[in-house]
């Protein structure tokens, strides 16, 4: 998060030159579509993709914005397909709702790289890169569980502030969180969803803090709405608990390093996957494989691990914050 | 003033207002087409003309609402073209508009001073406003209306008083009144005249518009007649000019301004039987009958509950007790009433009866279009033809039934409403103030229509605030006071004075919530 967009993007420039794939190859037109960015994470996805594409002289980047909902994105995709790019990189509004669009593109002979939100139909994509929503919940739950266990809290009051509650990814995150807590014998005392924005995060957190007068730990799914959550915590003057964030924004990582707020850790769900997707799209377009793998082609599925950033390891993640 | 209110003196004052060749066109309509008018200080100058003659347009030009296209207006010796209503008011011309121009959710005082509020730095001076309003109201003879009560809570006559109070709240040299008596009952009209006489005695000029010719005789000094936006006669003496001449100047033809003779109705079985009908707080124990081909009139003061009674008979309001039977069938809902052949022309034409933007024929068939339909599909061709025939029958002008009702004059709009029920094959017609705001010519035609209906066996129950109308039209007269039917008589066995005596007794609009 920054007031100045484009300043921090996470791209792989590969200065070392040791990678044979870095050499320019045949020209690849990459079509790209992501939902309207009204959120730091989605904005970072688009910015990363754009920046990564610019790093390759042999890539032409064509992005269509996908409007407000799945229907709009479907419409955008049909115009994109009509322009016959070599590869399409797609962050769908909803994987299931855009499954048919994926199939259509694949049928038209355009490999589709699905970012983050899986198509149910395996024929609808060439490559699936996704973050691990369930794993993110697990990581947050494990961290909280271990910390509380170490403190010897027996019946902890744990709060949770998810993002938009009707999204499947939110459900997966919460499921992972619940499961991890259950292994410690803990459960969530109160759960107030926000909408991935700072102002809704502030509102949800205010309500949550009021409903749980003494809290031990709090997981906020998203660092962007976390700005508001932290503001609410400060406004309520509450310090008795610790908080775990989600996604891994720059501001959150800075706060963890500074260690002057309740935010002690964040579990990643990095928009760097967009940069990787562009790199791999180029390889697919050029019919190349990943050099470290034995296989001649890019694999079908890649799931990024969700990592836990704490004060100890924050420094090395600092450049990956969005 | 202590000046005794006797015969108004001959207009001796100087000319305050002079209009010459005033023209005002609306897109497609030449509403004013060369109007001449001369008003002297201290006189009551009556404006006569048929519906749509341009009277309201003329006074709106004076009030700064419309701007004249051509012609000259001289006010107090100077050329006058008010840019806005405010400018006209500042120049000393106050107007009481025909359509009630009040805001329901403002108080009486706020309405009276709307647009020229007493304020200090934008803040209302409520106490002095209330005081001044109280003063004006008592001058109007209605000190019992609280300046703080909401206009919404006042009956129509009360609202008219507030409109008048608004006009008096200006320091006016000329007060224009556009049909102020239309919603007033008899004693209220007397009261209005008293006020007008007080005003003229102070040298204030009054322009008075009304469709009731007998009022002109009573209050007017001089008369100007408009026809199709043109002055056809100017400065006739109000008391001496024969009615016949006024009417012919207005309409361009001669109309016998009397009620058509009634054939002595035969004895007939009762069509409508209302038995001890009651609605708490509105009317109680109303029992009456109407026979086929009979016209029954209800006289009473504004607010005596006549409209409520009619609406309850029609099923539009739920009775607390009592029954209504039509041809032996009990009526409790509008659906049943319409089905069994009852129709009603309600009091407020525009808000209660008409779809103003829809064509005439659709308004006429509003209660019967299902009858022309085949399996739910409408047959507009048939509807149109039927409407055209009814329009001929009613002498509707214009005959073009595709025209939007909004463009019709008041009298013709009323005919559309009556026509609606003729098309529906109605056996019993309830008419609430059928001639309100309707001009002389149209009025005579409506009377004829009502008689023709009765002659065809339709029963008519009629409410009117004009006692002569009730007496002239009806076979039988009922008198209503404070929610009770207190008297019944054959129309030729009772005279106007008796009815008025019965009707009065109590004054209206007492006990307003403070």
């Amino acid at each position: 998060t920054s007031n100045d967009p484009g300043e921090n993007t996470q791209i792989k420039t590969d200065a070392s030159g040791s990678n044979a794939n870095a050499a320019p190859g045949t020209k690849v037109i990459i079509g790209f579509s992501a939902p309207a960015a009204d959120h730091g994470w989605v904005a970072a996805i688009t910015n990363n993709a754009k920046a990564q594409a610019q790093a390759y002289p042999d890539v032409e980047f064509r992005s269509v914005e996908a409007g407000a909902d799945a229907a709009a994105q479907r419409a955008a995709l049909s115009t994109l397909i009509a322009q016959k790019p070599n590869v399409i990189v797609l962050l769908p509004h909803d994987g299931k709702e855009l499954n048919s669009a994926g199939l259509e593109a694949m049928k038209a002979g355009i490999p589709v790289i699905n970012l983050d939100r899986a198509f149910p139909d395996r024929g609808a994509y060439r490559l699936q890169i996704k973050g691990d929503n369930f794993g993110m919940g697990l990581a947050a739950g494990n961290y909280i569980g271990e910390q509380l266990k170490a403190k010897g809290v027996s019946n902890p009051q744990i709060g949770e502030i998810p993002g938009i509650d009707s999204l499947e990814l939110t459900q997966e995150r919460s499921a992972g969180f619940r499961e991890a807590l259950a292994t410690f014998g803990f459960k969530v005392a109160n759960r107030r969803p926000a909408e991935f924005t700072a102002d809704t995060g502030q509102r949800a957190a205010t309500e949550l803090l009021q409903a749980v007068p003494k809290m031990d730990a709090l997981w906020n799914h998203d660092d962007d709405q976390g700005i508001g959550v932290l503001a609410a915590v400060n406004q309520a003057g509450r310090k008795e608990f610790f908080m775990v964030g989600g996604a891994g924004s720059k501001a959150a990582i800075d706060a963890i390093i500074a260690d002057n707020s309740v935010l002690k850790a964040t579990v990643t769900y990095s928009p760097s996957m967009a940069s990787s997707a562009i790199s791999l799209a180029r390889l697919i377009g050029q019919n190349k494989g990943m050099t470290d793998l034995v296989e001649l082609q890019v694999p079908k599925e890649i799931t990024l691990a969700s990592e836990t950033i704490t004060k100890e390891n924050a420094a090395q993640y600092a450049k990956l914050g969005f | 003033m202590t000046t005794p209110v006797n015969q108004t003196p001959e207009p001796a004052g100087e000319v305050v207002l002079k209009l010459e060749g005033v023209v005002k066109t609306f897109p497609g309509v030449r509403a004013l087409d060369g109007v001449e008018l001369e008003v002297r200080a201290g006189e009551v100058h009556c404006l006569l003309g048929q519906n749509g003659a341009g009277k309201s347009t003329l006074i709106k030009v004076l009030a700064g609402v419309h701007h004249a296209d051509e012609g000259s207006v001289t006010w107090l010796g100077e050329s006058f073209a008010p840019a806005s209503p405010q400018a006209a008011m500042r120049a000393g011309i106050a107007t009481i508009y025909q359509e009630l121009d009040l805001v329901d959710d403002l108080s009486v005082a706020e309405n009276a001073f709307l647009g020229h509020e007493e304020s200090r730095g934008g803040f209302l001076r409520r106490r002095s406003t209330a005081q001044r309003t109280r003063g004006i109201l008592s001058r109007l003879g209605h000190a019992q209306i609280s300046p703080r009560s909401l206009v919404r809570s006042l009956p129509a006559a009360g609202k008219q008083i507030v409109s008048m109070a608004r006009a008096l709240s200006h320091d006016a040299r000329l007060i224009v009144m556009d049909e102020p008596s239309a919603v007033l009952a008899h004693d209220e009209v007397e009261n209005l005249f008293r006020i007008i006489r007080e005003l003229t005695a102070q040298g204030i000029a009054v322009i008075y518009i009304s469709h009731r010719l007998e009022e002109i005789r009573d209050i007017g000094d001089r008369v100007t007649v408009l026809k199709d936006g043109r002055t056809t006669a100017a400065n006739l003496p109000a008391r001496e000019t024969p009615t016949r001449e006024l009417v012919s100047r207005m309409t361009g033809r001669t109309i016998e301004y009397v009620f058509p003779p009634r054939v002595e109705p035969k004895v007939r079985e009762p069509l409508l039987v209302v038995d001890r009908l009651t609605r708490e707080g509105e009317f109680a124990d109303a029992s009456l009958t109407v026979g086929a081909g009979e016209i029954v009139g209800i006289a009473g003061l504004v607010g005596s509950g006549r409209s409520e009674l009619l609406e309850t008979i029609f099923g539009a309001r739920r009775a607390d007790s009592g029954t209504v039977t039509l041809n032996g069938k009990k009526i409790t809902t509008i659906g049943a009433a319409v089905k069994h052949g009852m129709g009603m022309a309600p009091e407020e034409r525009k808000s209660q009866a008409l779809l103003l933007d829809e064509p005439i024929y659709r308004n006429m068939t509003l209660a019967s279009f299902s009858g022309y339909a085949h399996g739910g599909f409408t047959d507009t061709g048939k509807e149109r033809t039927a409407a055209m025939q009814t329009a001929d029958l009613l002498e509707l002008r214009p005959r073009d039934v595709s025209r939007a009702v909004r463009t019709l004059s008041g009298g013709n709009q009323q005919k559309v409403v009556v026509g609606r029920w003729l098309l529906g094959g109605t056996k019993l017609l309830l008419l609430d103030e059928p001639t309100r705001g309707v001009d002389v010519g149209a009025r005579a035609e409506l009377y004829q229509v009502i008689h023709d209906l009765a002659a065809r066996g339709v029963g008519v129950l009629l409410v009117s605030s004009e006692v002569p109308e009730v007496l002239g039209l009806a076979d039988r007269v009922l008198v209503m006071r404070e929610g009770h039917l207190i008297h019944e008589a054959l129309a030729d066995k009772i005279d106007e004075a008796t009815v008025l005596d019965l009707v009065m007794a109590g004054s209206l609009m007492e006990g307003e919530p403070a």
Binding site: A36, V64, E65, G67, A71, A72, A75, D94, K96, E97, S100, P120, D165, S166, E168, T170 | F26, P27, G28, V29, R30, D228, P260, F314, A316, I334, G335, V338, K339, S351, Q352, A353, L354, L355, D357, E358, L366, A367, F369, S370, F377, T378, G381, K382, T385, A386, Q389, T390, D392, E395, P398, A404, S409, R420, L422, L423, G425, E445, Q448, D452
Partner: protein
């Protein structure tokens, strides 16, 4: 007074005689009259559409040079307009009838979600369509009952329904996107009949049915009366309350149909689907000349309203405008469209309507 014998003496009680107009002529009028009137009234919007297409041609001449692409693009625009178009037809009825329905998006969501639960899917295609439509109509009936008999303001009643129905949809779906495994449903979106996409045909049928219902049936006549002057309608013997209930049920029915169409397009349904369709549908209806206060409106106008919106979106897509620029431009186009439409309408009424009365 005029002599009574000169008047055509109609028997008061007998039904009116059949019109003298020849049958052929009246049949020709049947189609002409209001249809041409709708077109005339919407000349402004047609103009806006033409301008949008011209901008499209000017900015992407190479695409518009390709006839197949143009044909496909027309169908894309129409397909994109199909579900919202169906909803707008229902909305237009509700608004003409003096109401408003803020719950259409939520009704689509609950109808879509309910018809794609595993248990509903087990009843097959018919079961799914039946469910969507019944759910839509029932929710509409509840809306209507709250408004008619509970005397709630339509805005509030349908707002409450919007919130509640989305909640129920989330509950039913467990907040999961429910995939439709029914290939018949899924294929609706890809089927073409005589080269025309099925969804476009559905839209055309619904619009045509809506037009006939509004302009040629007693139901439509009542709708105009109820919205134009409810008191007059009531005093003319129309059951205003019941009619209002039917209007909301009709809107619900349209939502049920739209739910199936959207489900087929997305091969899935979820609680957040059709988000903010209410605003789009209301805006389309109003831009199409429907009076928000009721009593006046046209189905054809509403269709044009929808088409303007989906043409705008299409224009943005082929020019790859970013969302923020899209939104800014869209706001401007909406204003411009209404101004153009208004201008036409005003000058026309001046030419045609305001002939001297007397």
């Amino acid at each position: 007074m005029t002599d009574q014998s000169t008047k055509p003496s109609l028997p008061a009680q007998s039904p009116p005689v059949a019109p003298a107009v020849s049958k052929d002529k009246s049949r020709a009028n049947w189609l002409k009259g209001d249809g041409a009137e709708s077109l005339r009234r919407n000349l402004g919007l047609v103009g806006v559409l033409v301008i949008l297409v011209i901008i499209g041609i000017a900015t992407r001449p190479e695409l518009y040079g390709d006839a197949t692409w143009v044909k496909n693009n027309v169908f894309t625009i129409l397909t994109q307009a199909s579900a919202i178009g169906v909803v707008t037809v229902g909305m237009t009825f509700v608004i003409i009838g003096g109401g408003i329905d803020l719950s259409v998006g939520a009704i689509i969501a609950i109808a879509g979600v309910w018809s794609t639960t595993l248990s509903t899917q087990s009843y097959g295609t018919f079961g799914m369509i039946f469910t969507a439509i019944v759910v839509g109509v029932v929710v509409g009936l509840v809306n209507g009952a709250l408004i008619s008999y509970g005397r709630l303001v339509p805005f509030i009643a349908t707002l409450a329904m919007m919130v509640a129905a989305r909640g129920l949809a989330a509950q039913i779906s467990g907040k999961q996107t429910q995939v439709s495994a029914n290939s018949t449903i899924n294929s609706i979106a890809s089927t073409k009949i005589l080269g025309i996409p099925m969804l476009v045909i559905i839209l055309a049928v619904v619009v045509a049915a809506g037009w006939v219902l509004l302009n040629r049936t007693t139901f439509g006549r009542r709708t105009v009366a109820v919205g134009g002057n409810p008191e007059a309608a009531r005093l003319a013997g129309i059951n205003v309350r019941w009619h209002t209930v039917l209007l909301y049920a009709l809107s619900g029915l349209c939502c049920g149909i739209a739910a199936i169409m959207l489900t087929s397009q997305a091969t899935s349904a979820q609680a957040a689907m059709a988000n903010l369709y209410e605003l789009d549908a209301i805006a389309a209806a109003i831009i199409g000349g429907t009076l928000l206060s009721g009593g006046r409106g046209t189905i054809i106008g509403a269709l044009f309203g929808v088409l303007v919106f989906s043409t705008i979106t299409n224009l943005f897509a082929i020019n790859n405008l970013s969302t923020e620029v899209q939104n800014m431009v869209k706001g401007g186009i909406i204003v411009a469209a209404v101004l153009i439409q208004q201008f036409r309408y005003r000058s026309l009424t001046q030419l045609l309507g305001r002939k001297p009365t007397s």
